[in-house]
């Protein structure tokens, strides 16, 4: 069962896409707006850094803006967009690996992606646990992290998760089980404070 009831991006962008391809500037802007937030979240998942994710999201938006007219619709839009984001993240990671990774602190990475909350006390607690578990999540191997994110955070089914990553559904399921096992073992063994603080 998905953790969120987030509306499927495909449903939102399908009518916008047709209008944008027909030259409707307002539809194009709206579509880019919807994609921007989603692409940014994917980029955060891939890069683990808010600033890097901003740069990746910008790059993807530019590519999307340029190639909107040539998008044929053969692949599902979100699958295509996810691949573009993933490639951009990988390329970005390669470009900055040598000069930035060592320079950026763990704490800054985590605090930069903490969500806003209404109650200051709740915000402190939630951001602490969120940072803590996000740190554990970042320890997962890349493929397990992606599968866990798509299946257990975004709530995609095994078939769609596999399709988006271009892998077999059985392989996706295996990655998901490994990711859950690792993450939950760390939660239970390394961070007993998680339950008490919520």
């Amino acid at each position: 069962m998905p953790l969120t009831q987030a509306k499927e991006l495909d449903d939102v962008v399908a009518p916008l896409l047709r209008r944008a391809q027909a030259g409707d500037a307002a539809a194009r802007d709206e579509l880019l707006g919807h994609c921007h937030a989603t692409v940014y979240r994917w980029a955060v998942m891939h890069t683990g850094d808010a600033d890097d994710a901003e740069d990746v999201a910008q790059e993807v938006l530019v590519r999307l803006d340029r190639s909107l007219g040539s998008y044929s619709g053969r692949a599902r839009f979100t699958t295509w967009l996810y691949q573009v984001t993933r490639n951009a993240s990988v390329g970005f990671g390669r470009r900055i690996a040598s000069r930035l990774r060592l320079a950026r602190g763990f704490a800054r990475e985590r605090s930069a992606i903490a969500p806003p909350a209404e109650d200051p006390v709740a915000r402190l607690q939630e951001s602490h646990i969120g940072r803590l578990v996000t740190g554990l999540f970042r320890r997962l191997p890349a493929k397990q992290r992606e599968v866990f994110y798509l299946a257990d955070i975004e709530g995609l089914g095994p078939q769609e998760t596999a399709e988006r990553l271009g892998i077999n559904p059985v392989t996706a399921r295996a990655h998901l089980f490994r990711a859950r096992r690792a993450l939950r073992t760390w939660i239970l063994e390394e961070h007993p404070e998680v339950a008490e603080e919520r």
Partner: protein
């Protein structure tokens, strides 16, 4: 019925609906009767919800139009393919030079006509050089070897 150790193993891989105890699965039945394992499941659910809140709550600082403006304001990377090709070309050139240096002097451009047998050949050595004619296993191939004359 299963033991708590068995339930823990199942907890580590179970879908979230099972962790909530709502299903009639083996794990769900155990969670309904075991406070300890239910507390473990609750910890996992709380942690994963916090993770989801953090990841799904992440928002870009800029709107899409602002992001596009900022991206277009950056200096464009010119000739990216050329940038990638330059190190490759340099490496290929270096490798080529090393191979040429190891291979010794270049072969003559025009090979003499096959002689059949070295004993029937008349070959003059250039000044300061001696020569040797060597038959090979192939009767159509004779090796003519010029080498420096030994100094007395």
């Amino acid at each position: 019925m299963i033991t708590c150790a068995e339930a823990r193993e199942l907890l580590l891989q179970a879908d979230r609906s099972e962790l909530r105890g709502g299903s009639g699965s083996t794990l769900g039945l155990h969670l309904a009767t075991c406070d300890h394992c239910r507390a473990r499941a609750a910890r996992i659910l709380a942690a994963e919800q916090a993770l989801a809140d953090t990841l799904l709550g992440a928002r870009p600082r800029h709107t899409a139009p602002e992001a596009l403006r900022r991206a277009s304001a950056r200096p464009a990377r010119r000739f990216p393919a050329l940038r990638r090709a330059i190190p490759l070309a340099a490496a290929a050139l270096l490798a080529g030079l090393l191979i040429v240096r190891r291979a010794g002097p270049p072969l003559p451009r025009a090979l003499p006509a096959p002689a059949g047998d070295a004993r029937n050949l008349t070959v003059a050595a250039p000044p300061g050089r001696s020569l040797a004619l060597l038959n090979t296993a192939n009767p159509d191939v004779v090796v003519v070897w010029f080498f420096p004359k030994e100094q007395p």
